[in-house]
């Protein structure tokens, strides 16, 4: 195990406990919820009396979040153990290759969602120079997509901890 290490710095020991791992999964759910409600807040605020402008949240504003969430679903559905399978015994008939392609699609959807959020923000809010209280809807769009990305990073890291954890338990 020790000779296979690629990175100079070790993972700190506390990262391997089951507590941190479960907390990471809860935290990922919390971040995703936060992302969804930030965008929902923009949509509800857009139809409320507080919005004086005639800029409204439409389906176009939701599209980046849908792509981000789809990307997150794809990324975290892939079995991580298949990814690092270099030997033939694990990767059978090219499972690692398929896993990498699917993972690439997932990351593309996630990055596309983030780029879409910025695109909506620029094209719908910055270019027509919408003033501040209504500009918040565009900012919330960018923030929501960033939070989905952060959530999938947290979920990814805490699922990668699983290997060491179950390895220790199996011994």
């Amino acid at each position: 195990m020790e000779e296979d290490r690629l990175w100079k710095f070790r993972r700190p020991e506390w990262l391997n406990s089951a507590w941190v791992r479960n907390g990471g999964v809860y935290g990922a759910g919390a971040l995703f919820s936060l992302a969804f409600y930030v965008l929902l807040d923009a949509a509800v605020w857009s139809k409320s009396a507080a919005n004086g402008s005639d800029v409204h949240v439409t389906f176009v504003d939701w599209l980046p979040l849908i792509f981000s969430a789809l990307g997150m679903l794809i990324i975290n559905s892939v079995e991580k153990a298949r990814l690092s399978a270099d030997s033939f015994s694990y990767s059978g008939s090219g499972v690692a290759w398929k896993a990498r392609v699917v993972l690439f699609l997932g990351f593309a959807a996630l990055a596309g969602g983030m780029a879409g959020g910025v695109t909506v923000f620029v094209l719908k809010f910055v270019v027509p120079s919408v003033q501040w209280p209504a500009l918040g809807m565009g900012v919330e769009n960018v923030v929501a997509n960033g939070l989905v990305g952060l959530s999938s990073v947290v979920l990814w890291i805490s699922q990668n901890m699983e290997d060491e954890y179950s390895y220790n338990l199996a011994l």
Binding site: G29, S33, Y37, L40, W45, E79
Partner: protein
């Protein structure tokens, strides 16, 4: 060992939580914050369901663990939803600040009661 005092204090806290949430609705005649109660009652459900679905003794297949993770993810989602919902309602001026604060605090009390109840009586079942 949870005794009769634990049960009494937990039910007291639960009653205070419900009081705060219902007060936040009834004082202002806007009944949206009642959704917080539904959210927090639903929040532990994914964990319970998924822990039944998975087999914790099985280390060879990691699919059992994935189901557990799905349950935790949904629980985390619902817990933050209980806080985010009153804030969203407040931001679009459907409820006012006092109702928001009362429903958040009441919801957290309700959820804390449910969680600590589960923790106290899970230990009982194991032995």
């Amino acid at each position: 060992m949870p005794g009769i005092k634990t049960i009494i204090s937990l039910s007291f806290v639960l009653a205070v939580g419900f009081l705060l949430v219902i007060l936040s609705c009834a004082l202002f005649k806007v009944y949206y914050p009642l959704l917080v109660v539904a959210t927090y009652v639903l929040a532990p459900l994914p964990n319970w369901i998924c822990s039944r679905c998975s087999n914790p003794d099985d280390f060879v297949e990691s699919s059992g663990n994935a189901v557990l993770d799905l349950g935790r993810f949904c629980t985390g989602f619902l817990v933050v939803m209980g806080i985010a919902l009153p804030v969203v309602l407040y931001h679009s001026t459907l409820i006012n600040a006092a109702a928001m604060a009362m429903s958040i605090i009441g919801g957290l009390l309700i959820y804390g009661t449910i969680i600590s109840f589960g923790m106290f009586f899970q230990e009982d079942q194991e032995f």
